[in-house]
């Protein structure tokens, strides 16, 4: 899409769709479907961070889970290093998962409370039969140091760590198998700002050191701008705009992106922007609006917007937008 054609992207997602059926009873026929992800395409180059932003219910987390194949896609394809992993069986996926790991929002609910931290971080080595007990211990100690924890803390349990330290544990576990891609689903959203800064810096340091790629899913636009090379904006299951960081934040094209950026509080008093506040709420993903899904809230909508769906098209270097008016 917007990465140079010369290099094969690490991750290529094409027309990815995930619909959840809604049934009236257990065996009933699906009467409606939640259009959680409705045909998104994106690429991530080696060493690149793609930010994925949007409001609650826009499908960004589902997109991450489908790419990880924690949820099966309805249609579309996912390629990792050129290999189509959309339909791989459990055995083949095991090998793929070494390349692709995840860090979740809530480090507490994603760490087994009855396992010492060292075992949590070292579990992937056991699952993949890597090394003997002493080698595993050394590797875990090295991972602890890498994420800014002390190896002495390996015997402690998750509840003995602070929120930021637990997120470091989650990152250490994700790094254990030497992945190329880490999908972070709101990885810093639950942290206090001072600790959030520590974790953001850590993620950026690790990328510089290990050449990792990130799909960074978050709703905090300032954090996404800080960490991402490129950013995709989702609304009701669709990507409405995707662009390099500077052009997305400097010249946002989609009315929804504009509204999102205008909604962020100014960081200095007296700078309060005269904003066109969006009215209303996001429509239901069960029956998304016809045409452009944003037309019901868009201040510039014209009749065409409710009839014809706008497609993503280039408006600048690597900058694509799905809007009839641009």
């Amino acid at each position: 899409m917007s990465t140079p054609e010369a290099k094969t992207p690490l991750l290529e997602v094409r027309d990815l769709v995930k619909h959840f059926p809604i049934r009236k009873s257990l065996f009933g026929k699906a009467r409606a479907r939640v259009h959680a992800v409705d045909g998104i395409s994106l690429d991530i180059a080696p060493g690149e961070t793609l930010g994925l932003v949007g409001e609650s219910g826009c499908g960004k987390s589902t997109a991450g889970k489908v790419i990880l194949r924690l949820i099966e896609p309805t249609s579309g394809s996912i390629r990792l290093e050129g290999r189509d992993i959309t339909a791989l069986g459990a055995g083949d996926m095991l090998a793929v998962r070494r390349q692709m790991q995840v860090v979740f929002q809530d480090p507490y609910s994603s760490l087994n409370p009855r396992m010492p931290a060292g075992e949590i971080v070292g579990e992937p080595f056991i699952n993949y039969g890597i090394g003997g007990a002493s080698e595993r211990r050394d590797r875990v100690a090295a991972l602890f140091r890498k994420v800014g924890l002390r190896p002495e803390q390996m015997a402690r349990y998750p509840h003995e760590f602070s929120g930021g330290q637990r997120q470091r544990l989650g990152i250490a576990r994700a790094l254990a198998l030497g992945p190329k891609l880490i999908i972070g689903d709101e990885p810093v959203s639950a942290l206090d700002v001072s600790v959030q800064a520590q974790v953001v810096n850590l993620l950026m340091d690790l990328q510089a050191e290990l050449g990792l790629s990130y799909l960074f899913i978050a709703h905090d636009l300032a954090v996404v701008e800080h960490i991402s090379h490129r950013v995709a904006v989702m609304y009701l299951g669709k990507i409405v705009e995707i662009a390099p960081r500077r052009s997305l934040f400097g010249q946002p094209q989609h009315p929804y992106t504009e509204a999102l950026l205008e909604s962020v509080p100014a960081t200095r008093p007296g700078l309060r922007r005269e904003r066109k506040t969006l009215t209303g709420d996001v429509p239901s993903p069960i029956a998304p609006p016809s045409g452009c899904r944003f037309h019901t809230r868009c201040p510039y909508a014209i009749p065409r917007c409710s009839q014809e769906e706008p497609l993503l098209h280039a408006v600048g270097e690597g900058h694509q937008v799905a809007c009839h008016l641009r």
């Binding site: 700002v193 953001v200 500077r246 400097g250 909604s263 962020v264 960081t267 008093p269």
Partner: protein
């Protein structure tokens, strides 16, 4: 600290302790502040700094295991001296509170109209019909579309943004003189947050309600506050008019907080790459192991022997600008960016 006229809400030396396993843990340690009519005071700080407990202490909504001391005055009247039935007449009437999570603070088994009407009936002795009429009017005021229909709906039928607006409608139904809002927009998306903040500003302009807004988000502070109190580990460490605070913070913790937040538009600077975020090393101390001296000292790049031994007093370093730091003049250097 106080403004020229008598403040509407005045809190002095508020101290809240919880007894746990025979140990008294001090969650709020000597907090004082004033809010005047039409004024918005923001209380900022991170999890565990005591900002929510302060609000609950003022409302007397804490469990019996807590011990609250200090003086809380509403328009010169001592709230601490009120009996529980008398206090119940104050809550939701003269002083209202908005909580962070509207779903857990609304009653799921009765309609939103009933919940608002009930408050109006209780406090103003109105009939149910008048209560429902006020409920509809309040829902319209907080810009809920089709208020006549929504008033008959249950909380689960509303979106998160609408529920928060119902909370605000309920809190404002009896035209409170003071509104305590505890992270009212934290659970909401930015576009909805912008709507709610605008609504609170408009309502304040119309009714002159004093607002105490508790938040961890400095962006919300910059938009809403007239004055700001910064809390750390149960204590007030700084207080200033909002412009002055952002212009020249006088406590290393405030400086650290401001440095650790990425700024929107950071990639548009001349260099094209955002600066590295400042970190506040370490974590907030536990209530069970409060450091002697300045509580921020273990994380502070400016800390010296005196900081570790003696707690710095709050002093008015510039007109209306108070801070508790031995090194307030150098606070601006307290940025910790390691390469």
């Amino acid at each position: 600290m106080s403004t020229a006229s008598t403040p509407l809400l005045s809190v002095r030396a508020l101290e809240t302790r919880f007894v746990d396993d025979g140990v008294a843990l001090t969650a709020v340690d000597g907090l004082s502040f004033d809010v005047g009519r039409g004024e918005t005071l923001c209380i900022v700080g991170e999890s565990g700094c005591g900002k929510s407990v302060s609000a609950l202490s003022i409302m007397r909504l804490l469990p019996p295991t807590s011990r609250v001391t200090g003086r809380i005055q509403l328009d010169g009247k001592d709230l601490g001296a009120l009996s529980e039935p008398e206090m119940r007449r104050v809550r939701g009437n003269a002083v209202s509170m908005i909580f962070q999570e509207p779903m857990t603070s609304l009653n799921p088994v009765v309609t939103v109209g009933y919940q608002i009407a009930e408050a109006v009936r209780q406090h103003e002795g109105k009939s149910w019909a008048e209560g429902y009429a006020r409920a509809t009017e309040m829902l319209r005021l907080v810009r809920i579309p089709e208020p006549e229909r929504r008033v008959k709906e249950y909380p689960h039928q509303l979106s998160g943004g609408m529920r928060q607006r119902v909370m605000i409608a309920m809190a404002l139904a009896c035209r409170p003189r003071v509104l305590l809002a505890d992270e009212p927009t934290t659970a909401l998306d930015v576009t909805i947050q912008a709507q709610i903040l605008e609504l609170m500003r408009d309502l304040q302009a119309e009714t002159g309600t004093a607002i105490v807004l508790i938040t961890h988000d400095l962006g919300v502070v910059a938009e809403m506050a007239h004055r700001v109190v910064v809390m750390y580990a149960g204590r007030k460490v700084e207080e200033a008019p909002v412009g002055d605070l952002f212009e020249r913070p006088c406590h290393p913790y405030t400086v650290g907080l401001m440095g650790s937040i990425p700024e929107l538009g950071s990639s548009l600077s001349a260099e094209g790459t955002p600066r590295r975020l400042a970190e506040i090393p370490g974590i907030v101390p536990s209530l069970r192991a409060m450091p002697a001296g300045c509580r921020f000292a273990p994380r502070c790049p400016l800390a010296d022997e005196r900081c570790h031994a003696q707690s710095p007093p709050l002093t008015e370093n510039r007109p209306g600008h108070w801070s508790a730091c031995w090194h307030w003049e150098r606070a601006g250097e307290a940025i910790h960016v390691h390469a």
